[in-house]
């Protein structure tokens, strides 16, 4: 509220404007140069696009996005930029131009930012806000789940698959609240509790204590089927307000010494086995993976501990392999078996499970070899014997199929190549015009032949 003018020696820029700091310590002063449009302000976590010119108090320009000819973008309120900006830009509307005068405590402080910004420098920015939008949290950034943060959370860890979470959620479809509850569950169990996949995805992007509004497209919502339970029609876009009240943070590897790691591993193994028995293979796998991550690179063990660690790691890899087989993730299962075999070259379960994984991957030759080794080492294993027979059948069948396939393969290849070339040419020649295509195609073929 204080519009003051401080005249300091050597200052060509007057220090004036409205104090917009929450503490009211005059650390960030704002003066609107051009009013923006609309009433909406950007929210925490939004991606904002600005142009700016930064000068020191004596008028020296130290940075300008306009000179670079490229707008600057960042995620608001996440500490990516100096404090003054997180505070200042959050007060701007689209199209607004303002001047921010930032005290060093809200900029680069006593250290400065070499080589451009000296220690204890007050910075002056002329900022123009062009646009802002919610943050897209999908892996492929396909706009399927957009987040607007209402209250920022704390910390840098986020719940991952298998983590136990405590949430408040409100689901809306076109203003109608269809789901409102407060519950505790494990990430991965959401589907059984009637949550669309997008909600679990959203949770995995949240910090402890965060409250946010998520707009979820049908692809991550109830899809083309909709939900009869909640009376959601097909292809509906949903709005969820989620508050992540708490989640169980796993102890980091470095917070434990080797004794504690072994102790925790035993507990986690039990937990995994419990999940496995309940048919929750994904969650079980998460637990077993924790054992591996704790013990795999632990180099400072006593001989007795090393022995225990090896037993635990072996069990973890074998159980992981089993989980992956159940989850139809054959190549991961294969990897786990290989790790188990590194620890114990002739392990019966590892060989057998690798065989099973290879069957799923249709590598029957290698699968048969594994099963054969099982029967050699453990003649009592009947299951392996029947698997060998099965593999042989598959190999024979595949052989037959191959024969038929090869018979007309060359013709197919020739056709495919021709098609590919034509496609390529189409791509390249789209612009000029369609009718010249045939001629161009011939020309191109000559060139490739040269």
């Amino acid at each position: 509220m204080t519009a003051e003018e401080v005249v300091t020696e050597g200052c060509s820029i007057p220090v004036e404007g409205e104090d917009i700091t929450p503490k009211k310590d005059g650390g960030v002063l704002k003066m609107v140069k051009k009013e923006g449009t609309g009433s909406e302000l950007p929210m925490t976590g939004d991606k904002v696009f600005v142009h700016y010119v930064g000068t020191l108090l004596d008028g020296t320009q130290f940075d300008s996005s306009r000179d670079r000819g490229e707008k600057f973008s960042f995620e608001l309120g996440k500490g990516q930029v100096i404090k003054a900006w997180d505070i200042g830009v959050a007060t701007m509307k689209t199209g607004e131009i303002c001047k921010l005068i930032c005290k060093p405590e809200y900029a680069y402080g006593a250290a400065g930012s070499p080589p451009k910004i000296p220690p204890n420098a007050t910075l002056v920015f002329q900022v123009e806000l062009f646009e802002f939008h919610g943050e897209d949290i999908t892996d492929g950034e396909d706009g399927g789940i957009i987040r607007r943060i209402i209250t920022k959370g704390e910390g840098y860890t986020k719940p991952n698959e298998g983590a136990s979470v405590e949430v408040c959620l409100v689901g809306r479809h076109e203003e109608r609240v269809f789901d409102e509850r407060e519950l505790k569950f494990e990430v991965g169990d959401g589907e059984g509790l009637g949550m669309p996949p997008g909600v679990e995805k959203a949770l995995q992007s949240m910090e402890q204590g965060e409250e946010a509004l998520f707009t979820i497209k049908p692809k991550y919502g109830y899809g083309t089927a909709g939900s009869s339970k909640f009376d959601i029609p097909p292809n509906a876009t949903l709005q969820y307000t989620i508050k992540l009240k708490a989640f169980e943070k796993a102890k980091e590897s470095w917070e434990m010494n080797s004794y504690e790691k072994l102790e925790q591993s035993v507990i986690v193994k039990e937990k995994g086995t419990q999940y496995f028995k309940e048919g929750k293979y994904k969650q079980a796998a998460v637990q077993y993976k924790r054992i591996v991550s704790w013990l795999e690179h632990e180099s400072s063990m006593e001989p007795g501990e090393e022995e225990k660690s090896k037993v635990l790691r072996l069990a973890a890899h074998l159980n992981l392999a089993m989980c992956y087989l159940k989850l139809q993730e054959a190549s991961s299962a294969l990897e786990s078996c290989d790790k188990a075999l590194e620890l114990d070259t002739n392990n019966e379960k590892a060989l057998f499970r690798r065989g099973e994984a290879l069957v799923v991957m249709k590598e029957f030759d290698r699968a048969r070899a594994d099963f054969q080794r099982v029967t050699q080492l453990y003649p009592a294993n009947k299951a392996a014997k029947s698997q060998i027979v099965l593999c042989q059948k598959h190999i024979k069948a595949q052989h037959e199929k191959d024969k038929r396939l090869y018979a007309n393969m060359f013709q197919k290849f020739a056709e495919r190549d021709a098609k590919k070339e034509a496609d390529q040419e189409k791509e390249q020649e789209k612009k000029p015009n369609g009718s010249a295509m045939e001629i161009e195609e011939n020309g191109a073929q000559e060139q490739t032949a040269a």
Binding site: E70, G79, I82, P114, E252, E255, N257
Partner: protein, 592 residues
């Protein structure tokens, strides 16, 4: 002779229609042409090649002469030079660009390490001409050329001193400068597209090839190069090269701040995800960050609004990578980047939450490896300085958590001793007026002290091996007992004391007595032995092998020395221990 052969084959070929020359014609043309050029008849060859009648022959077969021609040009014999140049430019005009490209790249590839610089200087311009002739279809060819060129450049030794860079004996600097000229038109082309529509498809082929070029340049040669600052070397081609590479990245639509934060803001963790590693190799990005924050290269195109903590957080990814290596140059860059990123942050300001990030523990772990295993003394010294700097930047709670983690995981008595010394400093600071905090006084401090005041194997702990740690622990305890009066008990040490006595001091006393007795007995028997075998005092009693190299035999004298110095050490421990026991005793005896 060869000249006649050449005119023969050319004459014969003039009669052939549709360019359907036989492979025999090709062979003859090449053999004769090569001999002519090598013999110095380039003037005559030129007149045959420029003859309008021979145009289609030259178009088909001419590029075969590139090999001998380039060899001749590299020899730089004055009399043939102008003709050879004329032949080259004629070929560049007439032959098919695809064949020319193959021919030229072949010459680049074949250059031995002594002639790389010269070959590159000679061929870059022709290569550029040929690539530009390819028009819109050049992207993959540009990529192929750039990759071949860089592989050759990477073979050149990197100048280390200022003088070496100025002299440029092996030609790395001159090649880098030439490469920049070479890529210029391609960069301009992309720049135009970016300027026109303000956006460019991330998958534009030429753009991707230039991106690959920049990334490869950053990892080789730039990661190897220690740039000189402008005060040391005013004009530095390598610094210009580095600057220009960052400019190109920016010009082809790669935002430098986005590259910096790539590994932090990436949504999903995709270990070993191929595409990402190919397009944005972490090592190249590490080099880029080193250039930006240590060498201050290209600061004008890097925004000055990012928060120091965020920059540190991003850089940690790269520091982790650099410090995980063993090569001195990488470690050096890692330490420099860590130092510069930390210096920008205020003391006592880094929040404890940061320690949730994996890098904030893997980097110190790597740093410990440098401190304890790196053979280079200067790097170890620098490492320790940066290690302390990183501690200073943490907030009080973060320091507490960090110390606890380090005590649990560092497994090195020296490092543990260093941490304990830091704990002592923190307690000292906290006991001063107005500095009180809950972490280094009272209830939180005690669990930390339990980690400090313990003997991993009770009385049997190897006191010599754990010396650093034991001395610092005892010093800390003595300090606290003296500094923190029993009636104040701000640290809580006095209430914990009876436990410390039972779990730490008593076993320590037992261990000390046992060790002393053992070493004294050894010493006695050694001296007795020596008297018996005094005639043969040089006889070795035990041998030591380090790194497959047998150390000189230990003589009985040396062994006695070792035993004695061990006994001195025990005395040292005992003196501090005795002092502590005294203080405790004084407390137990009520004041009279």
């Amino acid at each position: 002779m060869a000249l006649e052969q050449l005119s023969d084959v050319v004459q014969r070929c003039q009669a052939i229609k549709d360019e359907s020359y036989s492979s025999q014609d090709y062979d003859l043309f090449l053999a004769a042409g090569r001999t002519c050029i090598e013999q110095g008849d380039s003037a005559q060859v030129l007149s045959i090649l420029v003859d309008e009648k021979n145009k289609s022959i030259v178009r088909c077969m001419g590029w075969n002469l590139l090999g001998p021609l380039v060899q001749m040009l590299l020899k730089k014999e004055d009399k043939n030079l102008p003709h050879c140049h004329a032949i080259l430019s004629h070929l560049l005009e007439v032959c098919s660009p695809k064949e020319l490209l193959v021919g030229l790249l072949e010459q680049v590839e074949e250059a031995d390490s002594a002639s790389i610089a010269e070959t590159l200087t000679l061929l870059l311009k022709p290569l550029q001409t040929v690539l530009l002739r390819l028009g819109m279809k050049k992207a993959s060819s540009v990529g192929m050329a750039l990759s071949t060129l860089l592989s050759q450049v990477a073979r050149l030794p990197v100048p280390v001193t200022k003088e070496q860079e100025e002299d440029d004996v092996f030609g790395l600097c001159c090649c880098c400068t030439a490469l920049l000229q070479f890529v210029k038109p391609f960069v301009e082309e992309i720049k135009e597209i970016v300027k026109d529509n303000n956006r460019i498809s991330k998958d534009n082929e030429l753009r991707v090839e230039l991106l690959k070029f920049c990334m490869k340049s950053l990892s080789e040669p730039l990661l190897e190069v220690q740039l000189k600052d402008p005060d040391t070397l005013q004009k530095s081609p390598l610094r210009d090269f580095a600057t220009e590479i960052l400019m190109i990245l920016s010009n082809i639509g790669e935002s430098l701040p986005d590259l910096l934060s790539r590994n932090v803001l990436k949504r999903r963790e995709v270990p070993g995800f191929l595409e990402e590693e190919v397009r944005y190799p972490k090592e190249s990005l590490a080099c880029m960050c080193h250039l930006l924050f240590v060498n201050h290269i290209a600061v004008d195109i890097f925004p000055a609004v990012l928060s120091s903590v965020f920059v540190l957080q991003c850089n940690m990814e790269y520091i982790e990578l650099l410090l995980s290596r063993t090569e001195g140059s990488r470690l050096q860059k890692g330490l420099e980047l860590y130092e510069k990123s930390l210096v920008r942050v205020e003391d006592n300001s880094l929040p404890v939450d940061l320690l949730e990030l994996k890098t904030f523990f893997s980097v110190p772990q790597n740093l410990v490896k440098v401190l304890t295993l790196c053979p280079d003394q200067t790097l170890r010294t620098k490492g320790l300085k940066v290690f302390q700097l990183s501690i200073d930047k943490f907030s009080t709670e973060a320091k507490y958590k960090f110390f606890r983690g380090m005590l649990k995981t560092s497994h090195h008595a020296g490092v543990e001793g260093y941490i304990i010394k830091n704990i002592k400093n923190q307690i000292d600071f906290s006991l001063k007026p107005c500095n009180g905090n809950e972490w280094f006084l009272g209830k939180h401090l005690l669990p930390l002290l339990r980690l400090v005041l313990c003997l991993p194997h009770g009385p049997e702990t190897d006191l010599l091996q754990n010396l650093d740690r034991i001395m610092e622990s005892l010093n800390l305890l003595r300090y606290m007992l003296i500094r923190d009066k029993e009636w104040e008990n701000e640290t809580g040490i006095w209430t914990e004391l009876y436990k410390i006595e039972d779990h730490y001091l008593k076993p320590m006393r037992t261990g000390l007595n046992m060790s002393k007795a053992h070493y004294e007995a050894e010493l006695k028997s050694m001296k007795a032995n020596k008297k018996i075998t005094s005639k043969d005092s040089q006889a070795s009693v035990c041998t030591l092998t380090v790194d497959n190299e047998k150390l000189p035999d230990m003589t009985p004298e040396m062994q006695i020395q070792v035993l004695q110095s061990a006994l001195f050490t025990f005395d040292l421990i005992e003196s501090v221990l005795a002092r502590i026991e005294e203080i405790i005793e004084a407390k137990e005896r009520p004041l009279s």
